[in-house]
Symmetry: C3
Subunit: 274 residues, 3 copies
């Protein structure tokens, strides 16, 4: 199933012409391409963040679409460029782990190493593969080129160690994997795991940090897990099963990250309400 | 008259994948959709600002287009979702007043309460109706679904009190409703009202603030209303009938907001030049 | 050769609805337009920066495309509006020098002064020609209107003095013309000139600043010109033939501009490695 949708996820920001040039290359090759910007504000060269943003968004892209993921601190080195087919969609990315979140959710993907330079924009620079490799190859894929034409199939790709929730006695150790623009703190605890634990432990759960967690500076023990922002008043903390499929800490009409002084990577605990 | 144009106006910012996911949902449903970003930088959860930005932009969108306005601090609560037809265009928005500026300009609109979940992306989360309600419903409307299919017609919606210019003796009390990225100060005084007052009062008008206005820290009494930036030298203040239809204070090749220390909501006076 | 591609390059930023309104105007006129944002973050009213961004990006846009360049501190004054045909593409811009980089690269262009108001959005405001002139004229050009219909052909346009590398004894005096979002320092020294000098002088080259250059605060004499970021370790400085066709100073996985304290306009020296 072919789609004209070409999605872009980069850490290029919007200050420069880099994203615009990628789009120019795409529509020069496929004038009917429909380009979707997932985000260009991935923290610079932060592969873990790029992996999470992709995992949170890919399933909302059209089946048959092509996504170019360009968070690529190794541009110009010998790192491979990958094309992956998973969940009925195609993904182009450097082989640096940025597909880890996608692979973890989908379990498997067909992978090729992109080596055939037929579809590259030549001469290929050593610093801007977004323009010279990712954009033109994505455009050709959106025109119906087969991923098998791009290079040899490979067995696996580099995968990041993504910290997953760990049982520690009566608590579940979790961590912060994203802070959104509203200040919502997105943990690495899947909402389905919250469901399971609620069923197993019974009673209400709460999130704790502080002395036990050894990281955050505020004790969160009283943050209640609620069904919607409505459960608390304006300015109050709550935890919620977030729209990305993970437990989030929020402040109704405010920024949880700011109030709690929490950053990506910080540790938290999920436990039974005391 | 049907259009494939789907416009988005949100306070989501561009840091996260939220806008990208909305676009993915739209083109998954209508692959021919032409998506226009009005802005995603409305100050977070600021309904008044969202209302003003919509009022300043909607008339430039294609007739037949659908605009999703997602400035929605009440997401997940029982606030209604509205579909309005006005000025030959369709608008989806939470029933929180964000359509007030549009309604004030157009006077009337046909309104339905969006309750039919046929076109929702399910399961509907409690925190991201942009993805789960606004984007898919907008896409279906752009495909030709009738607004009458979305839910029951309703008589009115929540409307904000938008401060309008008030006569105070020989002066007109006005206020600041937007400050743009160049630092231009957009007041709530319609340019047509400036015309009327000029005709009635005769002579030149000027804008005053400071002690009389009781808010701003600079006396603006000498700001002259001019026809174009050319009327003053670089770095000089002037007032101008702005492109949004309101009187604006500007600095030629500079930021009026910065020079005057003025913020949204501050009060000003329009009076006869002394 | 006609294309539906309409590219936009402005200093409007994304905070306001200005870019969105331009897009609304474009697709109201040409519903099949494919709009490409080159960038909207050109430093406000900085014509030199706009000229450089255009020069670095135009050749990646589709042949037959129309680009509206709106960096226009003289909006509302008597400055002309230009339509240029060059490199198989059309460009609309104020006659303020913002086409200088393009003209310098291409050597020649056909130019008309845009005076026929048939295609303008009326009434034309005195402050927002992006909406009232550039967007509607660009849209009509993308529909096949001939540039000759826009106004009389003219011989030349305003051109900026763009500083070019100058030989000073054994050194080449160069300067900084852009700093990108990664902190890469893009000089005005074309990569082909680096090739020539390497061939002529033999041996390795390096970039110097500091006392000799009289501007930057750090002595850069030891920055080696390398083929890719791989040549140095993380956090190390290098110079590289950049993707825009100019010599750049970079830090692998870091910001060169920050480490060196360098800004646009600063002077540097290219010399033989000592």
């Amino acid at each position: 199933m072919r789609s004209n949708a070409v999605a872009l996820l980069t850490d290029f920001g919007l200050h420069d012409w880099f994203v615009g040039v990628m789009k120019g290359v795409v529509i020069s090759i496929n004038p009917d391409a429909s380009i979707v910007d997932i985000s260009h504000e991935i923290p610079r060269q932060n592969i873990v963040a790029g992996s999470f943003a992709l995992a949170a968004s890919y399933s909302y892209l059209p089946v048959g679409s092509v996504t170019a993921v360009v968070v690529d601190p190794g541009v110009g080195t010998r790192r491979r460029v990958l094309c992956a087919r998973s969940a009925g969609r195609l993904f182009l990315a450097p082989d640096n782990g940025v597909l880890s979140g996608l692979m973890a959710r989908e379990g498997r993907a067909k992978l090729v190493s992109v080596e055939n330079d037929t579809y590259f924009f030549k001469p290929v620079s050593s610093t801007f593969h977004g323009r010279d490799i990712f954009a033109p190859v994505a455009a050709h894929l959106s025109l119906g080129v087969h991923m098998e034409d791009l290079g040899p199939e490979i067995g696996d790709c580099l995968r990041l160690e993504i910290p997953s929730p760990q049982t520690e006695g009566d608590l579940l150790a979790i961590s912060v994997q994203w802070i959104d623009g509203f200040g919502n703190v997105i943990t690495n605890c899947p909402s389905v795991l919250v469901d399971e634990i609620e069923a197993r432990w019974g009673g209400e759960l709460s999130i704790g940090a502080g002395a036990e967690a050894g990281e955050a500076q505020v004790d969160l023990r009283d943050i209640k897990i609620a069904a919607s922002y409505e459960a608390v008043g304006p300015g109050q903390l709550l935890a919620i099963r977030g729209s990305s499929g993970y437990l989030e800490i929020s402040v109704r009409q405010g920024s949880a990250a700011e109030i709690l002084g929490i950053a990506i990577g910080d540790k938290l605990h999920l436990g039974r309400k005391v």
